[in-house]
Every structure is written in C-alpha cells, then in structure tokens.
Symmetry: C2
Subunit: 241 residues, 2 copies
DNA sequence: AGTTTGTTGATTGTTGACAATCTGCATTTC
DNA sequence: GAAATGCAGATTGTCAACAATCAACAAACT
C-alpha cells in the first residue's frame, strides 16, 4: 500500500548531494528557511558539515524543481509564490493529471483498477467517519497512483516536481480540504472513465477535477480578511501563510 | 519576428557552466557524441579547456532536461530513445500544448492573435510555393508562439525541454513533414478557437493536432525497411537514425 | 572447469583554496 | 544636498588535488 514517491531509478543512490538536497528541501517546505530568504552556500555547507560543492549541486537541482531561485552571482533564495503562479501550477498539474487519467484508461490495467477501487472504498469510509486526515492521505494517494501508473516517466517526474512546489502554499494544513463530498464524486467520475476504458472521458474528468480543486482552493483564500489583489505581487505573496 | 527560445530571465547570464552546457547539448543533438556513448567529465573538461566543475554542473542540468542520463559513480551517457519514449514525449508535449492553446484563447491577447495570423498567412504562402524549409520553420514558430504566450512559465520551460529532447529522434531532417495540408488545416482550427475566444475548442484542437502529428511521425517510421517492434528495446532504438 | 576473491586502473565524488563579481557604505565632486 | 565614484567586505564562480567507488582482469580455491 505504501506509495513510493520517487520511482525514478531502481538504484536509490545515496550521494552527499542527494542528502543535502533533501535537507534544504525540508527546510524550505517547513518554513525553517523563510520564503525569500537568501540561502548562502557556505552557511549551509558549514551547518551540514560538508563542502560547498554538494550544496551547490543541490541548489541547482532545487532550482530546476522550482523550490529555490538562483540569481547569478547573488546566490539562491527560497521561492515565493504569487497568486498567478498558483493558478499556473494548478493548470500545469491539471494538464499532466488529465494525461495520466487518459493513459491509465487506455491501458486499462487490472492492477491499477484494483488499487484505485480499494482507495475509493477507503475514501468513502473516511468520508463516513469524517476522518479528514485519512481522507487527505487517501486523496493524495489516489492522484499519485494514477500518475505513477501512466507509464510516462517524464510526465511523472514533472508532476511530482510541481506537486512539491505546490506544498509551498498548501502548507496551511489539512483544513485545506473543502467540499469533500464534491471531490469524491469527481473521483468516482474519473474511476468510471478508467474502469469503462474510456480515455477521453477519463481525461476530461481528470482535467475538470483539478480545475475545480483549484477553484476550491482559491475559494478558501477569499474567505480570509486580507484582500488578495491579482496585480500587486507583494500582496499576492502566499508564502508567508 | 525573431522568437526567443529562452525567455527565462531577462538577465542572460553567461557563466562557464552555461557555455559548457550548450556545447555538450550541441554535440549530443548533432550526433557528434553518439547515442549511448559515455561522456567523461575529464575528457570534456580538457577538450573545452575548463575545469571539471562546470562540466559536472552542465551534465546534471542536461540530465534534468533528459538529454543525458547520469549513472551513479559511472558517469553520464548520451540518452537513447525508444519508441515508447517517443510516444510519451509526444503525449506530454500534447498535454502542454493543449494547455497553452486554452490559455491563449482565454486571454485572447490581440498581439498574439496578430502574430499567429501573420504566421498563418506566411505558412499558406509557403504551402503554395511548396517551400518545405520555410514551412518547417513557420510550423515551429507557430507552436512556439502559442506556448510562449501562455503566461505559464513552468509549462513553457517543460515544453521547450521536451521539444529539445525530441530533437534526438527528429534529426532525420526536414523531409519529416508529412501531410502538410492536413497540418495547416489543424492550425486553422486552433487559430479559430483562439480568435473566437473558445478555450475548450482551442485546447481540444491543440491536443488533437499533436496527437495526429505523433501518428504522422510514426507513419513515416513504418515505411522503413527495418521492422520496429514495440517490445524489443534494442530494435526500437531510434537514436541511430 | 567454474566460482570466488583480490588487485589494478580509471572515473566519479568531494574538498579546500583562489579569482571574479556583486552589495553597501563612505567619500568626493558638482 | 544629491549624484557619482571608489573602497571594503562578503559571496559566488572556478580550479586542481585528494578520497571513494566501480568495472575488469587475473589468481587462487573448491
């Protein structure tokens, strides 16, 4: 049942750079490194007790992932995300997820269908018990299962990278699961398309699911007191929350 | 009219790593470095007259782009592409392009519409003159214009990265433009959706265009003597062509 | 003979030092 | 007083040397 996040290479190589990368990633995602804060190579290197080389490589890799931004001769800073970028990430994720739904429906793999059906049952149970935490986990698993079974490694990589970046503004916690019933219904539509072997239907259902998920998320924002303007990049900075 | 390929950062910083990266990229794409060949850090470094550091960084970056593959403690090798991966790249590119079409149609930007209309006229002219080279260039420009005006930087980056990787098997030259008339028609459908401000129509048209483009490309393969089996990774290796 | 083990050569992974570049502040000049 | 200039400090970019790891080959053992 455990869903591995990194199905990249069977050989899980553990080089220093990898460890450093995970550590910096953790610090950025947990907010330990504040959004927009500079990340000095020397400082990180000293704190982790390694040389600047691996830190450098890790930062370059994280820049590709979108978690940090690298300014020439100025170093790396933790990314801040504006409202427009949130929408862009949702749009990109939606396109990738829709593609995955289509492919899974086309392949019509028995193992995957079983996996998704089990997930569906568990999710309905969590919905009945009002167990939000379990639901949140199952929800992520559902999407992850579909993407990981798309057999399109490149799309898988990009998807996970985007999701990781989205953690930057999803950090507001588990309360961020509005309209569970609606979401479950959409999952059912997706699953129906997959089970029925209808790639077009599955793709559309997947696309709409993420689109609505974006709208649901944006809805939770407007409820807040701080008025988010779409134009002012300062005010649309969500990283602080 | 010039369409910049890298609208990433206004500041086009020229660090050594960037130059090395471009050079290795060129060698891989031109076949100067054969597909599957090992790329030793020391060798490249010596040939370019730089240290191993920049070469290392460049290889890591190219690995993210998909042009080379890095095996732990074994070094980098030029990627080889199999038939399944070709399909995957087309699928991914299609999803991104469809998204871009949708966004451009939604924004309905005057400048972009004019740009695309001009491109369309030129393309029809090239079609009339049977100028395949001009058509090929305009065709690329059409797609590039749409993607670059999607205002989704992350999607733009991934798209260009995918296209670059596709060069690995598109190297067979300009003759690779089958059914020009059909392609132009699809462009017209896309443009109609954009001009009409119909995101759904534009998205579908874009998706179908790439899907059919994939089929057209695959069609040019089956005409060849060498029977390409879908299962045997050795025989489906296209990198040699 | 086949398998295992040790050795060798080469390549990558990592390090610390040096050079180039940028930011901020003080100084100078108009 | 404001803008331009130059200097100091710190940080990144680059380099060459060292350590760790791996593939291949040869020798020894069952």
């Amino acid at each position: 049942m455990a869903m591995q996040n990194k199905p990249f290479h069977a050989r899980e190589y553990a080089t220093l750079t990898t460890h450093v990368e995970r550590e910096i990633e953790r610090r950025v995602l947990t907010g330990e490194i504040a959004a927009g804060a500079r990340i000095g190579e020397a400082l990180i290197a000293e704190e982790l007790g390694v040389s600047r080389g691996p830190v450098r490589e890790a930062l370059r890799s994280l820049a590709q992932s979108g978690l940090v931004e690298i300014l020439p001769n100025k170093g790396a800073i933790a990314r801040t995300i504006g409202l427009d970028e949130v929408k862009n990430l949702y749009a990109l994720r939606g396109a990738l997820f829709a593609l995955a739904c289509q492919e899974v429906a086309r392949r019509h793999d028995n193992e995957t269908v079983t996996l998704l059906r089990d997930n569906m049952s568990a999710m309905r149970a969590a919905l009945a018990c009002d167990d939000k935490e379990a639901y949140y986990r199952l929800n992520v698993d559902f999407h992850t299962a579909i993407i990981n079974h798309s057999h399109n490694q490149r799309a898988i990589d990009v998807y996970h990278s985007v999701v990781k970046e989205m953690h930057l503004f999803r950090r507001r916690g588990l309360s961020n699961v509005p309209n569970i019933a609606e979401s479950v219904k959409e999952h059912e539509t997706i699953l129906a398309g997959i089970v029925g072997g209808d790639p077009d239907a599955a793709r559309e259902a997947g696309r709409i699911h993420i689109e609505r998920g974006c709208n649901r998320f944006l809805g939770t924002l407007t409820e807040e007191p701080s008025g988010l303007s779409k134009t002012d990049p300062q005010k649309t900075n969500l990283a602080g929350h």
